[in-house]
């Protein structure tokens, strides 16, 4: 039993920290601190910054251009990226499609697509969810019918995150309607320029544009865009779900949030003194700080286990459940700390008139937006169902 990092790991942490200190433009970290939506330009430039350093595809094997890091190194990298208020790496190409192609793709697909992901030439988005199938992915209805050398796709996808910036989408589609739900599904790559595709924004609860609906009407896609075998899509989807879910506990982001809440509570006044001196608020902060401290260890313990076993176990669902609850609690505190100054719709007031302190004007919007974390990626209810079966065996 030893919680310390090796000297090599500590040296690695120093290297990462120094990299961010020297290379992350202040304008980027300022934008992250401010808490609004990031521009495509910022995301593109951050992508390029990491790619130039060779630190972009953190989960890829070296043969495909990854840095060859251990899970612990990836963990350290993520912690330091959060600490530096770096943007998040957009995961759809790097963390999702990349590993799928490396595992199931043809040599031609790997050679063509993987470099384009690294270079940023392709921005991928995800076509999984459908209006009628939220957590029940197996009931998806979007059809792909083989017609000569093409598939013809009809249907609708939704919750397509950052699709407005993407030029490509990977989709789960139904290729055989006559077999059991999971069996007739395939995984296919689609160019968003293909005729018959329409992408429409979904405005979210807090007013932001982050997700989209994608409509497919007689969209012809070359059959060579199929990944793996026809009707092998469910296997690929499960691979993605059980594949290492990087940073699923969101510990780094929660540590960021905790620091923000504390700084804010030292700054804002309530009843004539700094809010942090209000015992009820201080108790809320301390309570979630304790839970987060425990979660850091829970996260490391499961990381350690995954590293030993080669793959994470079902107990990572615990990280998802508790990690999102902690994150949401912190966003609640950040909103709560502001009192009435959380209420103005962000962006309407100039900084000198906004009653919220700097970087806090989005706190209410972030609280509402953050409610998504317990819904998507398998809702917390689904995670509990998984744990019931796997850990409790009930």
């Amino acid at each position: 039993m030893d919680l310390s990092f090796t000297p090599e790991e500590q040296a690695f942490r120093e290297e990462v920290r120094a990299f961010f200190a020297e290379n992350l433009p202040k304008e980027m970290s300022d934008a992250v601190r401010a808490g609004g939506e990031l521009t495509k330009d910022i995301m593109d430039r951050y992508h390029a910054l990491l790619n130039d350093k060779g630190w972009l595809a953190t989960t890829w094997p070296e043969e495909f251009g990854g840095p060859g890091w251990s899970p612990v190194q990836r963990h350290i990298f993520e912690e330091e990226a959060c600490r530096a208020y770096a943007p998040r790496i957009v995961p759809f190409g790097l963390a999702m499609l990349g590993p799928v192609l490396q595992q199931f793709g043809s040599k031609a697909q790997q050679d063509y697509y993987l470099p384009r992901i690294l270079s940023g030439e392709d921005w991928w988005c995800q076509g999984y969810s459908e209006p009628g199938a939220g957590s029940d992915l197996a009931s998806l209805k979007t059809r792909a019918v083989r017609d000569g050398d093409d598939y013809v796709i009809n249907g609708q996808k939704t919750w397509t995150t950052l699709g407005q910036h993407a030029n490509k989408i990977f989709c789960l589609v139904r290729t055989d309607p006559d077999v059991k739900q999971q069996k007739g599904i395939s995984f296919i790559l689609v160019d968003l320029d293909t005729p018959g595709i329409e992408m429409r924004p979904i405005k979210l609860i807090e007013g932001g544009h982050e997700v989209n609906e994608v409509f497919f009407t007689d969209v012809r896609v070359p059959a060579e865009n199929l990944v793996g075998e026809e009707n092998q899509g469910w296997t690929i989807a499960k691979f993605l779900l059980t594949h290492e879910r990087t940073n699923i506990a969101g510990v780094g982001f929660s540590m960021q949030s905790l620091e923000e809440v504390k700084a804010l509570a030292r700054k804002v006044m309530r009843n004539g003194r700094p809010l942090i001196e209000d015992p009820l608020f201080a108790a809320r902060v301390a309570q979630v700080e304790i839970d987060l401290e425990a979660m850091k260890l829970t996260n490391l313990r499961m990381l350690y286990k995954a590293q030993k076993q080669g793959a994470p176990g079902p107990e990572t669902s615990i990280l998802k459940i508790k990690g999102t609850v902690i994150g949401q609690e912190l966003k609640d505190l950040a909103r709560r700390a502001l009192g009435p100054s959380a209420a103005p719709f962000p962006g309407l007031l100039s900084a000198n008139l906004d009653p919220a302190p700097e970087d806090a004007a989005h706190n209410a919007a972030r609280y509402f937006n953050n409610r998504k974390t317990s819904i998507f990626g398998g809702s917390n209810e689904i995670q509990r169902n998984i744990l019931t079966k796997t850990m409790l065996e009930l």
């Binding site: 009628g132 009931s139 979904i202 709560r336 959380a342 009653p355 609280y367």
Partner: protein, 353 residues
């Protein structure tokens, strides 16, 4: 003991509810709520004509109501429709004008809109830390300071401003166009304003306004609690309806016991919220008004957050969208906590008692 509404109040409730449902449906509401000036003049006038404002004041002030139950009937109806009109400012101003013995026909008829400007960036809920100062100036007074997040301030004609005068908190009436007023929209719809006063002329209404402001806050809390109860009832009904119709894994999700029990817990908290709101309304104006108002606002803050978060979670993604009305109910229920003192502020008041 009688828990039924009087016939008059039932009629008022019905007519407001019907008007809002038929004439101010959700698309219209969202347009008014999120686009400048963050309210609708025509609906404001219609609500006034239906008596929504007269109901807030007692007969001696020119109204036909003014008790806690009159207030809660009006605001429960407004809450059910998420009405963004600045009725809260009218209520609180009416209480203050009554305390000052000032005429309020222009307020009750809806001709003039009033907003109450007490909060400041360093003094949201209590009065002690208020920084705005008043000084005698010619025949009247001049006020300097900044009032923040003045609900309804973006369309107010008159501002009732709390300011320090000779060390006491006094109350002044300020014409909105005499001050520097910057209006904006709110996360949950409706509007507010930042009000900057720089030697701005004001008329003294009360030299020692602490008691009147406390009464206005208690009345405002009853209103907000009733509004929240109205909104919770609707969001609960939407959630249960969704559980009934939405299918996953081949069955209506309302068949999943986990969601059933959580919906029951929502229902339970809503009944508790309704109860404590009735109690606060009954005590309004009496010696225990502040205590029960604090109890109510605390419970509403907790229940509102629970109902909002559980409704979103049980709906799933759909309730994360702007298009779905439920998301706006959820926002209102969460944000209402920050008005007139949040859960912790009011819990502290109950602790201190």
């Amino acid at each position: 003991m009688d828990f039924d509404l009087t016939e008059d109040r039932q009629m008022l409730s019905d007519s407001l509810t019907r008007y809002l449902r038929e004439k101010y449906p959700f698309e219209a509401r969202n347009k008014a709520a999120y686009e400048a000036p963050y309210h609708s003049q025509s609906h404001w006038e219609a609500l006034s004509e239906l008596g929504a404002l007269y109901a807030l004041a007692p007969e001696e002030a020119g109204g036909f109501g003014g008790t806690g139950f009159d207030i809660s009937v009006v605001f429960e109806a407004l809450g059910g429709a998420l009405c963004p009109e600045p009725v809260l400012g009218a209520l609180m101003a009416s209480r203050l004008l009554s305390a000052a013995g000032a005429d309020q026909e222009a307020l009750l008829s809806g001709v003039q809109k009033y907003a109450v400007a007490t909060g400041e960036i360093d003094a949201w809920y209590g009065l002690d830390a208020i920084g705005t100062q008043a000084k005698a100036s010619g025949d009247g007074y001049a006020l300097s300071g900044r009032k923040s997040v003045v609900y309804g301030g973006q369309v107010a004609d008159q501002l009732l401003v709390a300011a320090k005068l000779d060390g006491k908190v006094a109350l002044f009436q300020v014409a909105a166009d005499a001050a520097s007023v910057t209006g904006y929209g709110m996360m949950d719809g409706g509007g507010a304003a930042e009000v900057v006063l720089e030697d701005t002329p004001g008329t003294l209404l009360l030299a020692d306004a602490a008691e009147a402001l406390a009464d206005a806050a208690n009345a405002g809390i009853v209103a907000l609690c009733a509004e929240a109860v109205g909104a919770m009832d609707v969001l609960q009904a939407m959630t249960v309806e969704y559980l009934r119709t939405r299918k996953q894994f081949g069955v209506a999700i309302g068949k999943f016991q986990v969601l059933q029990h959580r919906a029951v817990d929502m229902l339970t908290e809503i009944e508790q919220a309704r109860s404590i709101t009735i109690k606060a309304a009954a005590e309004l104006g009496g010696p225990e008004a502040a205590r029960y108002a604090s109890m109510a606002k605390n419970l509403i803050g907790r229940a509102g957050r629970l109902v909002a978060e559980e409704a979103i979670q049980m709906h799933g993604g759909i309730a994360m969208t702007w298009e779905y009305p439920g998301s706006h109910y959820a926002k209102r229920l969460v944000m209402i906590d920050a008005q007139l003192g949040d859960t912790d502020y009011h819990l502290s008041r109950v602790m201190a008692a």
